[in-house]
């Protein structure tokens, strides 16, 4: 049985008109996307690719020039569509004059949560994001990381079924990133759908179930992480170090290699070179410890899709 789409876009397009000449700029073009219940979906692309614009269209912060977006089956322009949603913007700008408790109180009231539920939920969330003792402090004194964590708390105030995070990992220190990624995987364990945009591919690769790659407003690829990364990227051989100078051979054949105290790790792009390596191994008494197909990492898959699009 296929999962229900929580997010669905149908030919979604957005064109802005910029400058005095009202020059048209396509921010998103004909985007067809489906995000299913309970999955972590990473929406990746370079800066200016159209990630934030897509999120704005999903949240009715901007109206599409063409096409439609649906959340839980509701048209995205209908406020009911946002009843089961939590959202964290790319830059955590909140009211400086409010305290953390007041911000959560405000957020909860917009979902019409009762006073008692709200007080309990605010306390829980501040504890979860590590701000349990800062509830009565004004946001003016909060660091960027603290605001990001508070932003995450306000996004979860209504126990959302879908959380939309715009570049949630940007601007966080390594510990903050690990903590946030743990929170994201925690959400998945509660069957909450997470849609997040990022240009930090390493983190996206770690947590995402499915990935969409967007570039200049066009969706270049979209699918399960395992499908996107399964493309074979040549071979990888581990070779034991002996008296033979393997580095010279690698340079001569234009093979990439790395070495440590015990072995070389050689990357070979095509099958002919594998034959060549086997022949040399028997001639020069080289010990090949292992030889296997190499899989792409997300960065390579991303660059490959970009090259294909340019071609």
């Amino acid at each position: 049985m296929s999962a229900k789409p929580v997010i669905k876009t149908d030919g979604l397009s957005k064109q802005y008109r910029l400058g005095l000449t009202l020059k048209p700029v396509d921010a998103v073009t004909d985007l067809n996307l489906e995000v299913n219940e309970g999955e972590i979906f990473a929406f990746i692309g370079l800066n200016g690719a159209g990630k934030t614009t897509t999120i704005k269209l999903l949240l009715d912060h901007a109206r599409p020039t063409k096409g439609k977006a649906f959340l839980f089956g509701f048209d995205a322009t209908d406020p009911h569509a946002r009843e089961r949603i939590g959202y964290l913007p790319d830059l955590p700008h909140f009211y400086q004059f409010l305290t953390a408790n007041e911000l959560l109180d405000y957020s909860g009231k917009l979902f019409c949560l009762s006073k008692t539920k709200l007080a309990k939920r605010s306390g829980e969330l501040l504890e979860t994001v590590g701000l349990g003792d800062r509830g009565n402090e004004r946001l003016r004194g909060f660091s960027r990381g603290m605001l990001q964590r508070l932003g995450f708390a306000q996004a979860l105030i209504n126990h959302p079924d879908l959380v939309i995070l715009d570049e949630p990992l940007g601007g966080l220190d390594p510990i903050g990133r690990v903590e946030l990624m743990n929170l994201i995987t925690d959400l998945k364990s509660k069957n909450t759908t997470v849609f997040f945009s990022s240009h930090i591919l390493e983190d996206a690769q770690k947590v995402a179930d499915r990935i969409g790659i967007i570039h200049k407003g066009h969706l270049l690829a979209c699918g399960k992480k395992s499908e996107l990364l399964q493309t074979k990227a040549g071979w990888e051989a581990e070779i034991a170090i002996n008296e033979f100078d393997l580095s010279g051979l690698c340079k001569k054949n234009n093979w990439q290699y790395q070495t440590n105290e015990e072995c070389y790790t050689v990357t070979i792009s095509d099958d002919e070179d594998v034959q060549k390596l086997y022949k040399l191994a028997s001639e020069k008494k080289i010990n090949i410890i292992s030889l296997h197909h190499r899989q792409l990492n997300l960065e390579e898959a991303f660059l490959k899709e970009l090259d294909r699009w340019k071609a």
Binding site: H61, R82, P89, H93, Y95, E102, S107, K109, L110, G151
Partner: protein
């Protein structure tokens, strides 16, 4: 019912924001200094000092109210869009019109509180110099509240449409034009066949008739004020504010948040 909860949440936060704004405290201090100055002027002038203090005091309270309305009002919506604080708010199940209405209620309540505070201080000043608090003075204070509330609505409307500078400019122009709307009517009466008469008639209808809310002269000179002189301007204020807020909501309904 849910709409009311959301509107009151926006209003409450806007009220907090405005009350914690330093401009408001400075303007309140400025008003007190000006009341003191009017006391000094009244001591040097020929005539009854309480009348001079009441006249200058009423003018100051309206002017300070209008200055707060314009300079804090024009950043109400646009400022939030600029600072992006609006994004997480409008990502919640909130209609844009609820947001605009909540902003208006919160801001106008804060301005009203400051306005009442200024009038209480003025009454205390008048009591000190021996002038009593006449019903005419209270009626003048009541009607000028509507003048300030109307300027709040105009500032909010422009803030939903354009940049703070343009909003301030437009609101100031409408405020000045509104203050002179009676002169437009007078001119039309004196020169009915004037070539610009049709245009002036349209301007007269569109521009807020702020002179309608001015009972300063009656208050200072103890001229009786009829019930109609309070009821009609109140109804006019309610209708004009509602129309302005409707335009603001419609303009903001499909606005892209940059």
């Amino acid at each position: 019912m849910e709409s009311l909860t959301r509107i009151s949440a926006v209003a409450q936060t806007t009220f907090r924001e405005t009350i914690r704004n330093k401009i408001l405290h400075n303007m309140l201090g400025f008003a007190v200094v000006m009341f003191g100055l009017s006391w000094v002027i009244s001591a040097w002038s020929v005539g009854e000092p309480e009348k001079i203090i009441a006249d200058i005091g009423l003018t100051i309270t309206v002017l300070v109210g209008v200055i707060i309305a314009i300079f804090a009002g024009v950043v109400l919506v646009h400022g939030e869009v600029d600072r992006k604080t609006i994004l997480p708010i409008l990502a919640k199940p909130l209609h844009r019109w609820e947001y605009v209405l909540g902003k208006y209620i919160g801001f106008s309540s804060a301005v009203l509180l400051v306005y009442i505070g200024m009038n209480v201080i003025l009454i205390l000043f008048l009591s000190v110099v021996g002038g009593g608090v006449s019903s005419g003075l209270l009626k003048a204070m009541y009607l000028s509240i509507w003048e300030v509330e109307l300027v709040v609505a105009l500032a909010l409307m422009f803030s939903s449409i354009t940049t703070p500078w343009l909003s301030a400019l437009n609101t100031i122009i409408l405020f000045i034009a509104g203050r002179f709307s009676y002169d437009i009517k007078f001119f039309l009466g004196a020169h009915p066949g004037n070539a610009f008469a049709p245009v002036l008639k349209i301007i007269y209808v569109l521009v807020p008739n702020l002179s309608y809310f001015n009972l300063r002269h009656e208050a200072v000179h103890a001229i009786p004020v009829s019930a109609q002189m309070l009821i009609y301007p109140t109804l006019y204020g309610i209708i004009y504010c509602s129309l302005v807020l409707l335009i603001a909501s419609l303009a903001f309904r499909t606005k892209d948040l940059a």
